[in-house]
Amino acid sequence: MSKKSYRNAIKEAIEFEMRRDPTVVVIGEDVRGGHGAKNTEENKLEGFGGVLGVTKGLWTEFGSERVIDTPITESAIIGMTAGAAATGLRPIADLMFMDFFGVCYDMLYNQAAKFRYMFGGKAKAPMVVRGMIGAGFSAAAQHSQSPYHIFTSTPGLKVVVPSSPYDAKGLLTQSIRDDDPVVFCEHKLLYDITGEVPDEDYTIPFGVANYTRQGTDVTIIALSLMVHRANEVADKLATEGISVEVVDPRTISPLDEEGILESVASTGRVVIVDESAARCGFAHDVAALIAQKGFYALKAPIELVTPPHTPVPFSNVLEQAWLPSAERIEIAVRKVLEV
């Protein structure tokens, strides 16, 4: 096993699946060319590889038929992807900033998500929509949101939010092989983190939470970048003798209810950290689950750490204050422990 970045882990998953299965194609803006590169079959100049360079090199290996550049029209990208999936391909769409799902939402939530159900199982949409989420990049209000909770609320869509390079590769491979539409959310601040990733291909099943820290006093449930912040807090508090368990559900639809409730049953105290929304977000969904099925194990009220209910600020200082910080998580943990 060697250390790889989150970006390379994602790319490896796509490469492996494209080599393994000829029906896997990549669709998106600049996945082939871009950045002023006029690459053609005769003039093989590698292009931008998507807005963050994840798909760089794919066109050289797999050609124009399987690495398809589109205009900057999200509705065209997702519409084309859903149609291709319905006709037998396994497309991977690069939506780029997940914030722009609005213009193509009809194709995703009202079409692709319902194909299998409305056609009585005779049609399916084995597609993956990759997109960037997350603040902390000074990308301002329209490029910094984490709207995965909106996808979670749509039946028929699977939603994956990986926090580590290992999870990213295993879960993306699983997503590509899955017969349902999967929304794959990549956090901007995680592309350059590195971690142990096997060279061979492997899958991680959906709906299986990962305990990134095991502890006995309090459970922190977090996703994506927030897992790292929670781990940081857990490690800090461990030096004080406070034992924190960190649960990363990894996929929020399906959600590993058993994995979450077992941890809650063992600690009795819960902090949920989420970047998605201050209202009706992932944190509230999980809090409701615990209140419904794990209530009697609770020794203290559940504590939520989310951003305020405002757009993401552009100012770096304000943006950092907006994001749930390790300090805020620590305060919440101490709060549930003191009750």
């Binding site: 099943p205 959906f206 709906g207 299986v208 305990y211 095991q214 399906p254 590993d256 058993e258 994995g259 409730l261 077992e262 941890s263 049953a265 063992s266 009795g268 794990g294 009697y296 194990a297 020794k299 009220p301 003191e338 009750v339």
Partner: protein, 520 residues
């Protein structure tokens, strides 16, 4: 063969039978030095830290937090890092389990070969050869608390091939369940705790619903809550109802626990206990009329000890009682004078009584005794070690003011306050509450005029102090009003006779009414 050593539950005091491991302060793999605190063990009286009896490396914790073992029970295995995990594992398997040791121990003759072998594993004996120890393999069903695992499902094995949740793995390890024999119902057949529960119950065993185990009984903390901010009323109510402030939400100003918070916990516990009481506890006649509500309160270790010891004391010791009234006016005046002139000290009437009693015990040493039943002799002490009964939330404990006759009043006062504080937080060391040649119990602060206390076994007598109250007494043929206290002494007639006891009380009255005598 490298050395493997064990850590065991020590024997702190004569009455200690078992100890509960409440917290390990070192982890598996940690190196420790002799004398270093390694874990905290709770006895029926106190929680004390266990100091390492030797230098070593803790390789395996046998008794996890919350486990109760008999004195001498093995709590951990230590060995140098050169010893392989396999050797440690073999060694542990060769140890007789706690249940087996208990079961195999005959009631009349406790010293069997088995026990001698266990004793050989004492830390002081340093090296133990595993092969010398009795080997036992689990048979039939393992029962632990409410868990019983059928033999078909026994045998935990650590393997990478098993797909289970981390908590399911921990539970399986804890209760020795073979996960290989269980099919999970989760994603890709992942095994959860519920799957283990179902498999165990299906196979005829028992596995309580661990996820909802606290559903009927509200969680009760036992930790020291003296530092939790609370309003004085809330604190008093919590003490009265036996509620730990850790269990209350702090909704008051500045994060304090207030009256309503304590009430909430109280009514919640009432509701839970009422709803959990089974119909079998109510007779048929009662169930037809108004239902009788009661709260079953489980007896903890301390309560059981109090029950056993005092039952024995009252049935075995022939008590007789002597009562005397003393005038405390001079004592009060002297106390007021000392406290006003020396702002650094705050002497209580109780402290002055302690000093007076100590002086009387020296004057009448026949009362300053213990009864050594085993050797049929009376132990008469030349210093006054006075036990003082202190009420604590779940019972009472008797810390000792040692050599009270030799101490200054201010010293007695400070020591008493320190002992009482530590008694209430469970921080007394065994030698601070075991022994003593005489005991006093004071219920005056509750307005009790007079009462007779039960003798603390081994000691010869106990003195019960009532409240100071103004009474009309006859002095020099005139009726006068004086602050009076009634003292009742319970004596063990086997070692103290009526006249001896009376002599002691007369001497005590003299000291109390003329306190200059004991200050001199």
């Amino acid at each position: 063969m490298s050395d493997i050593q064990t850590l065991e539950v020590p024997k702190w005091g004569l009455s200690m039978q078992e100890g509960k491991i409440t917290q390990w302060t070192i982890k598996e793999g940690d190196f420790f030095k002799k004398g270093q605190e390694i874990c905290i063990i709770e006895t029926t009286k106190i929680a004390n830290s266990l100091e390492a009896p030797f230098d070593g490396t803790l390789r395996r914790i046998i008794a996890k937090n919350g486990t109760t073992l008999e004195v001498g029970g093995i709590i951990g295995v230590c060995a140098d890092k050169t010893v392989s995990d396999q050797e440690i594992e073999q060694y542990i398997q060769s140890l007789p389990s706690e249940k087996e040791t208990k079961a195999e121990k005959p009631k009349v003759e406790p010293k069997t070969t088995e026990n001698k072998q266990t004793a050989a594993a004492a830390p002081s004996s340093s090296t133990v050869t595993p092969s010398k120890l009795a080997t036992s393999t689990p048979s039939k069903t393992i029962t632990n608390n409410n868990f019983s695992i059928p033999s078909a499902l026994q045998g935990y094995q650590e393997t990478k091939d098993i797909f289970a949740t981390p908590h399911a793995i921990n539970m399986a390890q804890q209760h020795n369940v073979n996960l290989d024999k269980i099919t999970g119902s989760g994603p890709q057949q992942r095994i959860s705790i519920s799957d283990i529960q179902k498999a165990v119950i299906d196979a005829g065993g028992q596995w309580p619903d661990v996820k909802n185990q606290s559903s009927n009984t509200p969680v009760k903390s036992t930790a020291d809550d003296s530092h939790i901010p609370a309003t004085p009323l809330a604190r008093r109510m919590a003490t009265e109802w036996g509620i730990n402030l850790h269990d209350c939400r702090a909704s008051g100003s500045r994060g304090r626990v207030c009256k309503e918070d304590v009430e909430t916990v109280y009514y919640r516990s009432q509701t839970a206990s009422t709803s959990s009481s089974t119909p079998s506890t109510t007779t048929h006649a009662q169930s037809e009329s108004t239902p009788v509500h009661f709260t079953p309160i489980p007896m903890d270790g301390m309560r059981k000890t109090i029950a056993e010891r005092l039952q024995a004391a009252k049935s075995e010791i022939p008590h007789f009682y002597l009562t005397i009234e003393v005038d405390v006016s001079t004592l009060q005046e002297l106390r007021a004078e000392i406290n006003s002139k020396l702002p650094s000290v705050k002497i209580s009437i109780n402290d002055m009584f302690l000093k007076a009693i100590a002086s009387a015990l020296i004057a009448v040493p026949e009362v300053n005794v213990q009864y050594d039943v085993e050797n049929q002799q009376i132990l008469q002490f030349d210093q006054a070690d006075i036990s003082v009964a202190v009420a604590i939330p779940n019972g009472l404990i008797t810390p000792i003011i040692k050599a009270a006759n030799k101490r200054a009043l201010s010293d007695i006062s400070t020591t008493m306050r320190d002992l009482a504080t530590r008694a209430k937080t469970g921080k007394l060391s065994p030698d601070e509450f075991q022994g003593g040649s005489f005991c006093i119990s004071n219920l005056g602060m509750f307005g009790i005029k007079q009462f007779e206390a039960i003798i603390n076994p081994l000691q010869g007598a106990i003195l019960a102090l009532g409240a100071v109250e103004k009474r009309a007494i006859v002095k020099d043929d005139a009726i006068t009003i004086r602050p009076m206290v009634t003292l009742s002494m319970s004596c063990d007639h086997r070692v103290i006779d009526g006249a001896t006891g009376a002599k002691f009380l007369a001497s005590l009255k003299e000291f109390v009414e003329n306190p200059m005598a004991f200050l001199a």
